[in-house]
Amino acid sequence: MGSQGGFYQSKEFLDLVKSIGEARSKAEEDRIVLNEIETLKRRISEPDIPKRKMKEYIIRLVYIEMLGHDASFGYIHAVKMTHDDSLLVKRTGYLAVTLFLNEDHDLIILIVNTIQKDLKSDNYLVVCAALNAVCKLINEETIPAVLPQVMELLAHPKEAVRKKAIMALHRFYQKSPSSVSHLVSNFRKRLCDNDPGVMGATLCPLFELIARDVNSYKDLVISFVSILKQVAERRLSKAYDCHQMPAPFIQIKLLKILALLGSGDKQASENMYTVVGDIFRKCDSSSNIGNAVLYECICCVSSIYPNPKLLESAADVISRFLKSDSHNLKYMGIDALGRLIKISPEIAEQHQLAVIDCLEDPDDTLKRKTFELLYKMTKSTNVEVIVDRMIDYMISISDNHYKTEIASRCVELAEQFAPSNQWFIQTMNRVFEHAGDLVNIKVAHSLMRLIAEGFGEDDDNADSKLRSSAVESYLRILGEPKLPSVFLQVICWVLGEYGTADGMFSASDITGKLCDVAEAYSNDETVKAYATTALMKIYAFEIAARRKVDMLPECQSLMEELLASHSTDLQQRAYELQAVIGLDAHAVECIMPSDASCEDIEVDRDLSFLNDYIQEAIEKGAQPYIPESERSGMLNISNFRNQDHHEASSHGLRFEAYELPKPAVQSRIPQALIASTEIVPVPEPMYPRESYQTTMPSIPSDAGSAELKLRLEGVQKKWGRPTYTPATSTSNSTSQKTVNGTSQGDGASTVSSMCETYDSRKPQVEVSHEKQKLAASLFGGSSKTEKRPATGHKAAKASSHMVEKSHVPKSSMEVASDKATSAQQPPDLLDLGEPTATSTALQLDPFKQLEGLLDTTEVASAVNGAPAASISPDIMALYVDTAAGIHNKNDADLLSGLSNPSVTNMPGTTAMPQVTQSSSKRPNPKDSLEKDALVRQMGVNPSSQNPNLFKDLLG
């Protein structure tokens, strides 16, 4: 099929690509692109451009847009191109618009008509192209325009069309669940489609539907299980196999669905046990996709009603993942462990060293995943170590997004498990100090509340201790330069509220510090506001305690400065402060009660305390108050807005033809108005809805809207403000998440003692002492006695694991160096390999190799059986090819195929089949030579600069 690799574009385009490829800097690239944009702008608006030329222009537009420049001047031409009759041109047009336009772009309205037409085409390829565009471009407003046609396509004879139609409906569901909620039965029907591709596609929308509402799909459990069983038993065509796994993508999707359906449902789960167990057994754990399925099995097992046998298999797989040398598998193992730990917390303990290895791994991704695991297994016994580690890591990274996340996790854990107040305050201080600006302000508020409310126990003594330790630490921290604003707010608030509460510090100490804060952070108005209020509180408490108030001079000057502040908020606070200082003790006690920040403030919404006043006014002849809703003659703003908001979810553009205006419209308006008792005719025919709003506030909206629709027929506005259509009930059924039946064990009872195991390990295994200590502190309290008798066995296992570990890297190094010498490649290409797989592959016996060889060629021939690519599976020929390949390709060395993980991953496959496979895959090494020659001929010679361009991606 090498012929398709040719280059059809014009010299001009090739030159463009070439010059961009050779650009030495971003600035140079930008200059070239800007030039190109100018050229295109000029050319594209010329009259009578031949289609071929236009097509190329559009592709060039796609190219410059891909490079991050704006090609919006050409969008309209791409849209025009979709109208073309020829599929070739149309396809390019559709490609361009799907790449250019987001779903909210104005031009989409111009494509809808074409899409409608194309969906009806006889040529299924045209329909496919249109459906591709539907998935990307159709938005909530335009769904109704294409929905009926897409529905019809569900019964199209071509499976490719059915599949895409399903996916389009899935997209519609994502965009607006209500638009397709009545079509759910169609998805169920398509589940029985005789094409596995369509069935597989149906799983996507079903997964989403089930995720939102589990209970209405419980009846499908049996079907899903039987499909999964058939897939696992290889009933599907070989074409769906992937590295000798039967239809793994479908298996994964099904397992995801089963996990949802079986969650917390014993009966449903029991149906699944057998098939999931089968998959565990059958899965080939040496290929990437096999591991993907295994991982999904673990997810499923940890989600459904627990079954001891399955949990055991899951734990086995996890330990295999964690012991693997591949970082990917370790990562998945850690993730899976985090899932399983919810059900059986004891399995973490046997992997503790692996977990700690991951925690100390230089790979950031792995580290973060491990922190996630630790976060899940935090208990009051290990919270100190874990949070400490998390904060250390948080300080070391610069990625703000993750910093925020980990900071909020630290706060959460600290709030939940804090062993002592002292520790809690210290931890929070560290978090705020280092990530204060990133922490959500809510966290700060909850910290303030926590300090105010105490830890929930009714122990006032403990609470006040917490507060005084907080005050103490804050006063110390204030000495540090540059604190985050949020943290300062907390400090100010706490100092104001509790600074003088325990009598340790005098008012002048605290107020002095507060003034310093306000001065040092004079740019931050929020902090200043907090500081002012804190000052006010301190003074108020002093006055209330009948002590003499001496305002510090710096405080005085601060107040004076703020009295003239540009910020009204600060000004107001300053005036309040001034006023409070002037009041007597009794009044101050009322407005600023001590330690009352948690008292509920009752709000009298009816303002009943004003009743007397009103009565008096009315007696004097004042007009009584008319509620806004009863006032007529003016637009009811708030109501109007509500209505608008409500409509946003249900309105839509209409794509069917306008109806003829009905003469009855006029006569109906009064009819609608009769309902209201207080008729205030507002004859505004252009805005019947608003008049309706003002006259009929009391009618329930459902009935109202139905009636309204009648009235609006014929006068509906198409382009203006959204017109009123009956409110389709958005079925936002709150998905009831059933919590898994098992409650989390209370930690201490499930964790078996680590001490013994350590002791037995020590002599053989050289695990650093620190690591062990860390493990002990993470994984358990030592208060428990050893549960298992097999300590020796465990130790042996652990030691063999360690030996393996120390051995494997060495062998993989050897392999790597082998490869390096034989393949003689630039070193950066070696990283394609995953040494584990290769090292095992090399040790297999030659007979197996031969078997594997036959096997794969067979597979290859089966795969290539398609009429398009007929490759004779002649082994001898393959060898010839291989040899030729090695000679001909200068830099794409076939041996590099060895290091290709995906190929290597086959069970029992060895170097030989890989070679044959890679050569059988390319029947004609001439292809690449031709390509090379062609490129050179065209004067494009990037090889001098970047020889990698010619490198086979797979080889």
Partner: protein
């Protein structure tokens, strides 16, 4: 769900971008810049996953090209890795031992193939053969169209030749004028045929 697909060369040049979730042009540039900084600097033995803004990016390097896909946090990373490989295999079969250069010059083809593999951010077709067949069907349509055009031009050329010869030799029952008219008619028919195809 896959939020976007990126193909970046080792030098950080963009080879293909496909966005399944809405991103503005500005955001896109930022995303590409951020991710290429993150991914291209990673060592060879680390995992093929990167956490990024609460999402996960799965990447894999083939020769000098990085294939990246951005997914939700609860998706199966290994599956995505396999989808990437799937895509590369289909590309490989289509181009015949695909190399980066193929994708540079035929990026629109790479888009067409991707459109048959993924749709709306989900894998739509797990069978490589089906994908290859569909793409081939679209291409063959293009190709037959081309063949037809070329054969028609052939006919026209031949017809023109023939008439010219006739004219020169003075054969036929018609007068030379009539013959000329006839040939024009023939050419007209042919051009219409061309238009239709």
């Amino acid at each position: 769900m896959i939020h976007f697909v990126l193909l970046i060369s080792r030098q950080g040049k963009v080879r293909l971008t496909k966005w399944y979730s809405p991103y503005s042009q500005k955001e896109r540039t930022k995303v590409i810049r951020e991710l290429s900084g993150l991914i291209l600097t990673r060592g060879p033995k680390l995992c093929n996953f990167v956490e990024w803004r609460g999402l996960r990016v799965v990447y894999k390097r083939y020769a000098s090209l990085y294939f990246c896909m951005c997914i939700d946090e609860d998706d199966n990373e290994l599956e995505i890795l396999e989808i990437i490989h799937h895509y590369v295999e289909v590309l490989d079969r289509y181009f015949g031992s695909v190399c980066e250069l193929d994708l540079i010059y035929n990026f629109h083809k790479a888009y067409f193939i991707l459109d048959e593999l993924l749709i709306a951010g989900e894998l739509q077709e797990p069978s490589k053969r089906t994908v290859a067949r569909l793409v081939a069907a679209q291409d063959s349509l293009v190709e037959t169209a081309k063949e037809q055009t070329s054969s028609i031009t052939n006919i026209i050329a031949q017809a023109a030749n023939f008439t010219i010869k006739m004219l020169h030799k003075g054969y036929g029952p018609w007068g030379s004028n009539a013959l000329h008219l006839e040939s024009l008619l023939l050419v007209d028919v042919c051009t219409r045929l061309v238009d239709q195809h």
